[in-house]
Symmetry: D2
Subunit: 282 residues, 4 copies
């Protein structure tokens, strides 16, 4: 397994898709030096976008964190979040003005409101008065009481038959150097098993996420799939998803795939990136 320099590889492409966590940032905030890599890309006429399984905050809020962390180049238009796909679904499939119940924070409810819909937190919902709910969206693992509200949403889904949308497929996420937390996708898997219904999921590795990003790029610049490089730290989301969509892929070893395990993981999974790089800093 040959380790390549990221910048040399990037020069072959017109657009780079970055995963966020483990690639551009970690538990401490953004990885020092990332701003130089982004400047290098821009100086060489290479566009970039961030594809993130996240519905906890709006693109504006997500970008704001980068900007306040010192990476001025990450503006809201650079961010493609799985929450944006959930919003697109709601816009196409739910009648404007309807009420949509959700698990998550007020911030995460932005994705429902901006689709022109009324929001109702599961926390505030009463099971005695739930006939007017048009859909249920799982947005974030915070903003509700797990015990009380997980049971409430299960009983809601037994009382009414409405679409259930999972705006982030991840089952866990890192909260510090050594600790992780259950993500809303993990809670959704448990609930789906219990209620026996089929939920609709958005986020990498699903093709719809890559397609959404691809269409966003197309709106600005006419580009082909083989002119895009997907960069990520996780074989099972970033790399397999990019490969399947027809993009070239680069695995970086600055996140979940540890350097000494990369070769064995690629061989045992059969998920083969085009390139392997130490990080995006090289």
């Amino acid at each position: 397994m040959k380790i390549r320099e990221f910048r040399k590889i990037a020069l072959k492409y017109k657009t780079v898709f970055f995963d966020a966590y483990g690639v551009l940032k970690n538990y401490n905030g953004h990885i020092p030096g990332v701003e130089d890599t982004l400047k290098f890309l821009t100086d060489n006429g290479i566009d970039f976008y961030i594809l993130t399984n996240d519905a906890s905050r709006s693109p504006e809020q997500l970008a704001d964190k980068y900007i306040r962390g010192g990476i001025a180049q990450i503006t809201p238009d650079k961010i493609i979040s799985s929450g944006m796909l959930a919003r697109e679904y709601l816009q196409y499939k739910i009648k404007p003005g309807s009420t949509v119940a959700y698990l998550g924070t007020d911030n995460s409810a932005h994705y429902i409101e901006s689709a022109g819909l009324e929001t109702l937190s599961i926390y505030d919902l009463s099971l005695d008065n739930c006939e007017h709910i048009s859909a249920v969206v799982f947005l974030d693992d915070e903003g509700f009481d797990w015990n009380h509200d997980i049971n409430k949403v299960i009983n809601l889904l037994r009382l009414t038959n409405v679409p259930v949308i999972i705006a982030n497929t991840d089952i866990a996420y890192p909260v510090s150097k050594h600790q992780i937390s259950v993500a809303i996708g993990g809670i959704a898997d448990m609930i789906e098993e219990i209620v026996g219904k089929t939920f609709i999921r958005f986020g990498k590795p699903d093709a719809q996420m890559f397609m959404f990003a691809y269409e966003t790029v197309q709106a600005n610049r006419n580009i082909k799939k083989n002119e895009i490089l997907m960069v990520g730290d996780t074989l099972y989301t970033d790399i397999i998803g990019g490969n399947k969509f027809g993009l070239d892929t680069a695995l970086v070893l600055s996140g979940t795939t540890l350097p000494h395990m990369a070769k064995i993981k690629i061989e045992s999974s059969g998920i083969i990136p085009n390139y392997v790089c130490e990080s995006v800093l090289t």
Copy 2:
């Protein structure tokens, strides 16, 4: 599908194994008339035992609820709970005097204490001081803070490599006529998926539960498998488990398997009880 009278069928056997919920009791407490059926069995020299996926209370506490509800015949020695199998595992596999961490109430911790082990609630455990933990047991969905303690046990299992025992495989249980709650087995499935380890599960339909009951019966009375009838309301636990162990089985329609769905469920699942009865009252 022929509906049979329960008492007529029971007369063919020397021992009856009952599931509890949906058979002897429901959301309102025990089903009126059950005490007469149990008396009928005793009068005819037929033993009975209750096989229940429950580790929330000791057999003494479980029996006490029946007795206070008016069914004096259900003494602690009649109860075989999945918690008893977890206790047996701990007795065989964990060194006496070791400390075992658990998710559950103080009542549920009885199954650890009575195995001669020290208990430590996940609620009280500190991740900075967890090297002395010898096993983790999932006992009950109550007695802890779901958000905080589910994440804590996940991080505990990433820090230490110890056996994880699930003392109740059920993923949900009824709490009222129309509502259910996540059971500890459902929480365990989510955590197992996230940490990627293999947990040890006790409870129907697993053969070990039936074997444990069978050995309990043998200690009192020499009996063969084909002299035992397993009675339950759920095809996927009571009936398939009883069938696989070699027992005759009776499905009752007083619980999760609704009368108008019984035929279609038997045919679509391929899980075939020897008999179908309205309830144990007939």
Copy 3:
């Protein structure tokens, strides 16, 4: 559950996507009267396409069967098969001129050849000489010896680390009024479990199939997602896939979803079509 007339509904859209089996054809060939419905659509300026999980034949061969069956309107350009997505993947990700091994008939290998690649049937492959294989594609359940070649492909995947592409996700398909056969997607699931690698799958309900069709439509006519109706007989592929992609959906009861089970299946699955119609003939 209201049963609607298909033609009245179709008039609200500019384009219709049809599933093939259970909608336009069945075990006897095409369903009599389908040609009138297609004519009705064309007369009213409504385009149509067929989205089919099939990689056994080229679009030309698939269309030819319709035409010889009396439906002259189904020309090759109307057909979107999952094999076409596998071909697109190969074009993007496999170096031109490479050799790709496959399970399937000679007809199915068309999807590899037309991507500018050399083909090698697993039947003809020798495990002693397999280093030159660049990918393995599962195309069809016919054209090979199941016992010998399923074991051969398993051992090939243990010897070499190459991408594995499943060109049809279906696990079974009807072969006569009452009989079904294992489809290549079912064989692929078994092999994936045994080798422990992650395969790349194409076909409904995956979003990439709908996106491919959508892009095909766009090339001819500027159209929005909400101007397209997806019509299918299977909730778990056609309807959930269409819904997730943002299309309106119509379930027809002429195939796998039997009329007396439709309501219960929609409620138990939570997969909710916009419309339910007896068939496309109404």
Copy 4:
């Protein structure tokens, strides 16, 4: 991870349960020196039994292979095969004289015949005349035409509702130093997914296999669980199964668990043997 000498450990126990493949034998036949270890056990008053997921041959035939290979100590009474559990199931649950259909060789059908039942190979069965079938048993991956007979048994299970018994849960098995073959358990998983019914499986790691062996031992010698050592090469069957049943366990590194991967596999799986030994020869 400390590597222990097998013989020293064995001396602490009264009975040893051995897995067969990877422990006592491999692709070349039995492992040279095994006969000395078995003699050592016998000389020290330690009983031994072989627990094997195998229904392809009777215990007599399995023992005969060992004896002809030079290990005279492995007599039929030393062998506990998963086929014997399937036979026990049939004896308890299927009416004597009934006809049972099977996938497998004539040799494997022994397990049905010796239960006092008529056998009918799926190969010879006609779907037009299948009402008299009382059960279907999956015994071996040989003795039938995979393509034709896998499809036939699927359609049989759609026509009739009878119990389906899988007499070997393994999904694959080694056929030479570097090659494996699909086992009947792998074929059964595929068919179960397609027909949507719940099959009954026998074999490690299921508790019923260990219980059957335990009862066999008890018939000869009064012994407790903690006087038995389970020895195997596979964490996911031998070790987790032994642990769950309450036995002490020893992992040997002469089979599927390679020496350089043992530590990482134990830590990532959470399946913890009491001992790790190079092989049973030490």
